[in-house]
């Protein structure tokens, strides 16, 4: 099985561009994923957030979204998209092309499909549709409106909204609390001219990662990529999550809810949404990171985990109760959907699970099931070309070059003592509860 886990081959193309290739004949598609990185800062965030919307409106030779969509349909439904990603304090514009391998199309129908796909991807990145040397003013006006409504729409998904609000309350004024979509108040001053200038600047200077996963050869990719995707640039800017930021001064709260921050918000909803935010003091780049992964697994990553077993199975308080890590900064979040009147009981029961781990109450089984679960998760990643790219990207952005094989070794080596040691540093910061005080009881 180990041979399946061979990792990407990476090379530096100079001026801030890195190319990562995984040759595999496992997939019927070839995936090309390009990440252009920027710092997540108030002064950039909204422009960065708006760019995917504007770039997907059209290119020099395919000036409308309709033209672009028609062209892609002609390439047997090649999927091409632009999106935005946030990893800690790194904000990345993502361009993604997924295109069928030529061998799956009868006769000569598929000839040159890959290079045509790369060509249109390259155009979306480097030759967007312009009017008088800048973005189309109509496109920018329309997409500002669409983005504004998307930001306002963050309230629609209640569980996500509670998670977002918890982070904001936990890290007020901190870059990490910025939405990947940006802020409504910054939209007004953005226009076709300053947005285009901004885009030209990051295209020229900001670091770029290009991933290619599929039935390709290195030589072919190097040639096609240099033709279609890489243009003269300077690459002056560096973007990276700074390690060490996970360290924090203990406020002496520990797991004491009475000393931590509690925020309540009312909405006319049926189910209360609870998010509890913790500081762990351990981030991806730290040596204790794999012990933290274990901690999260034992606490709330799986169905054997303490939260699922105790909050859902034993107490029937919730349909879901789980935990997840914000690995760049070492934050941990627990989420659960509960009856509004059960807040006290649920919050206490949740904290009891963290207390238990802290006191060393971890069974052999919990260690082993978690180990197997983490390994299963990692070995599964290589079945998805998208996951291969994201996994590698996330680690790189957190200043840790990590291969799947090394991660597997690290997981094998984690001991219960290491998990308990990590547990000592975990501190409750903020509980956010979205509730409905006015709802009648059934």
């Amino acid at each position: 099985m180990q041979s399946l886990l061979s990792d990407l081959v990476s090379e530096d193309l100079g001026n801030g561009v890195r190319l990562h290739i995984k040759e595999t004949n496992k997939f019927k598609n070839t995936l090309v994923k390009v990440y252009l990185h920027q710092d997540l800062r108030p002064e950039y965030a909204t422009k960065t957030g708006l760019l995917p919307q504007v770039l997907f409106r059209g290119t020099e030779s395919l000036p409308t979204r309709r033209d672009l969509s028609k062209y892609l349909e002609g390439l047997y439904g090649a999927s091409l998209g632009t999106s935005i990603k946030k990893v800690g304090e790194v904000h990345s514009l993502v361009y993604e092309l997924e295109i069928l391998n030529e061998e799956y199309l009868p006769g000569s129908m598929g000839n040159g499909l890959f290079s045509k796909g790369l060509g249109v991807l390259g155009e979306v990145i480097h030759q967007p549709y312009l009017e008088k040397g800048r973005f189309s003013s109509r496109y920018v006006v329309q997409e500002k409106e669409v983005l504004k409504r998307k930001i306002e729409g963050l309230i629609n998904d209640k569980a996500r909204y509670a998670a977002m609000r918890c982070l904001e309350e936990m890290c007020p004024g901190d870059n990490i609390s910025l939405s990947r979509l940006g802020r409504i108040e910054d939209l007004e001053v953005i226009n076709e001219e300053n947005l285009y200038e901004y885009y030209q600047d990051i295209l020229r200077n900001n670091p770029m990662d290009i991933f290619v996963v599929g039935n390709v050869t290195r030589e072919e990719v190097q040639e096609l990529v240099s033709k279609a995707l890489v243009f003269p640039r300077e690459g002056k800017k560096e973007v990276m999550n700074l390690s060490g930021k996970a360290r924090h001064e203990s406020k002496g709260i520990g797991l004491d809810r009475a000393k931590s921050k509690e925020v309540f918000e009312d909405q006319d909803i049926e189910q209360g949404k609870l998010t509890m935010g913790f500081r762990t003091g351990v981030a991806v780049a730290d040596p204790e990171y794999y012990a933290l992964l274990f901690y999260n697994g034992i606490l709330g990553g799986f169905v054997h985990s303490k939260l699922f077993q105790n909050v859902r199975e034993k107490a029937s308080l919730a349909y879901y109760a789980s935990s997840r890590l914000e690995s760049s900064r070492g934050l941990l979040f627990i989420s659960s959907g509960i009856e509004p009147k059960e807040y006290e009981r649920a919050a206490d029961l949740i904290l009891k699970q963290l207390e238990a781990i802290k006191a060393g109450d971890i069974s052999e089984e919990e260690m082993e099931f978690t180990r197997k679960g983490l390994i299963n998760h990692l070995t599964s990643l290589v079945d998805s070309s998208g996951a291969i790219c994201d996994y590698n990207m996330d680690y790189r952005l957190n200043a840790r070059d990590e291969t799947v094989s090394h991660a597997l070794e690290a997981i094998q080596a984690v001991s219960k003592e290491q998990v308990v040691a990590v547990a000592q540093g975990i501190e409750l910061d903020t509980s956010f509860f979205l509730r409905n005080s006015g709802r009648e009881e059934y």
Partner: protein
């Protein structure tokens, strides 16, 4: 011996064997994949809420949400929780209930044989206790409430309720908090013994596995068991009028802007398998041709500020119902409804062009082939098609057979203004 089905375009091999007690089993081999994904499904979903209990003449109308409740309870075993046992193997287990089927599944990179054995064992072994059933009610109540707070779910669920007079697709899969409370152990056993007979079920395994070994393992597992022979299951479906119950349904929720869905009721239902599949293919191509991002209508509506990139369309279908659904978020739901109806009427008269049809068909071919890059999507497609009596490899074949005339006829016959419903979620004041 197993039978081998091959597809030249997909370059995939599908193995089939019928096992003891009439259980059907399929294996798709995916060389090089780390993960094996297995599903064990029964042809029993939320719409099967009225039936005759086998070997009796008892006609039973069961509480809403019971198929889904049963799915939750299946994990209960004398030894505890089957869910947790998968965790012990490092496998990830799950289950889902939809309108016409219930699927139990796992995904694993190791200990495949043990995980498969566990899947076969727990699904064939109902163990319901009074205490377990009552405990599960609290969990399911929270699941039901979670969906009730999800605007995207509500806008669809309201649409189905407004469209149908009688057909049980109008009822939420999970039922309501009240109907879930009426469910008890005896009812669960009755449903189990009616619908979980192996002859009403199918196993699908996809991964880098040896088909013969998988079939042999399943055969031994089945041979150990006693399943009394079962005749045909008699499901009772009420007659459904052709029209719609309500043209417009509006609800208020805490949302930032209105959510909009328009649905067209399909009256061409209960077709033979091949015709049914052809209808699905035609409807999907038709919807994409007139409403996809490459269509003139999409561009028009976007330019008018009536839609944004959340707008999409899909065909929700089963043997005895079908709905073409289109929509997204909008500031002006009433204007969007009018513009859509006008645009569709225009297209019904003018027809889809040859160029658009061919392009969209190419896209569909590419998308279907692409889905075979993920074991999860393969299994999902397999199960969805299987319970509509369609085999995994028929889809592409029919896709290459349909013509522009077929698609235009489907457009004229199906998207008829008299059979449309609009569902809107509006922001609470």
């Amino acid at each position: 011996m197993a039978q081998l089905l091959q597809d030249q375009t997909l370059k995939e091999d599908l193995w089939y064997r019928e096992l003891p007690h009439g259980l059907k089993a399929y294996v798709l081999k995916k060389p090089g994949f780390s993960k094996t994904f297995a599903t064990f499904s029964t042809n029993y979903g939320s719409i099967d809420n009225h039936f005759v209990v086998p070997n009796t003449s008892e006609e039973l109308r069961v509480p809403d949400g019971i198929a889904h409740f049963l799915e939750h309870q299946m994990f209960a075993m004398e030894y505890g929780d089957a869910f947790e046992r998968f965790s012990a193997l490092g496998a990830q287990a799950n289950a889902y209930t939809n309108y016409n089927g219930t699927t139990y599944l796992f995904s694993a990179t190791d200990a495949i044989e043990e995980a498969l054995e566990l899947l076969l064992d727990y699904v064939q072994h109902p163990y319901f206790t009074e205490e377990g059933v009552n405990k599960e009610k609290g969990i399911i109540e929270q699941e039901v409430r979670m969906y009730r707070d999800a605007p995207n779910w509500r806008v669809l669920s309201n649409l189905l309720e407004a469209m149908y007079f009688e057909h049980p697709v109008r009822i939420d899969i999970g039922g309501t908090v009240e109907s879930v409370r009426q469910i008890d152990r005896d009812l669960l056993y009755k449903c189990y013994y009616t619908f979980y007979h192996p002859s009403n079920m199918v196993v699908f395994v996809v991964g880098d596995v040896e088909p013969e070994a998988i079939f042999n393992q399943m055969e031994s597992n089945l041979l150990k068991r006693e399943h009394p022979a079962q005749g045909e299951i008699r499901r009772i479906f009420p007659a459904e009028p052709e029209g719609v119950r309500e043209k417009l349904v509006v609800e208020q929720m805490v949302v930032s802007e209105p959510l909009f869905r328009m649905g067209f009721k399909d009256v061409d239902v209960d077709l033979e398998p091949r015709d049914h599949l052809k209808k699905i293919v035609l409807t999907e191509i038709m919807l994409e041709s007139i409403l996809g991002q490459s269509s003139g209508l999409y561009e028009e509506l976007y330019e008018q500020g009536l839609i944004d990139d959340s707008f999409s369309s899909h065909y929700m279908v089963n043997i005895n119902y079908g709905i073409s659904i289109m929509g997204g978020n909008t500031q002006k739901p009433e204007e969007l409804a009018n513009a859509l109806l006008k645009g569709i009427e225009r297209l019904r008269n003018e027809g889809i062009t040859e160029e658009d049809f061919l392009r969209v068909r190419n896209r569909s071919i590419g998308e279907y082939i692409s889905a075979f890059d993920s074991v999860e999507s393969i299994a999902y497609i397999f199960n969805t098609l299987y319970f509509q009596n369609i085999s995994l490899f028929d889809y592409l074949e029919v896709l290459s057979e349909v013509t522009l005339e077929d698609v235009n006829r489907r457009l004229r016959d199906h998207l008829v203004s008299e059979r449309h419903v609009v569902s809107i979620i509006k922001p609470k004041d």
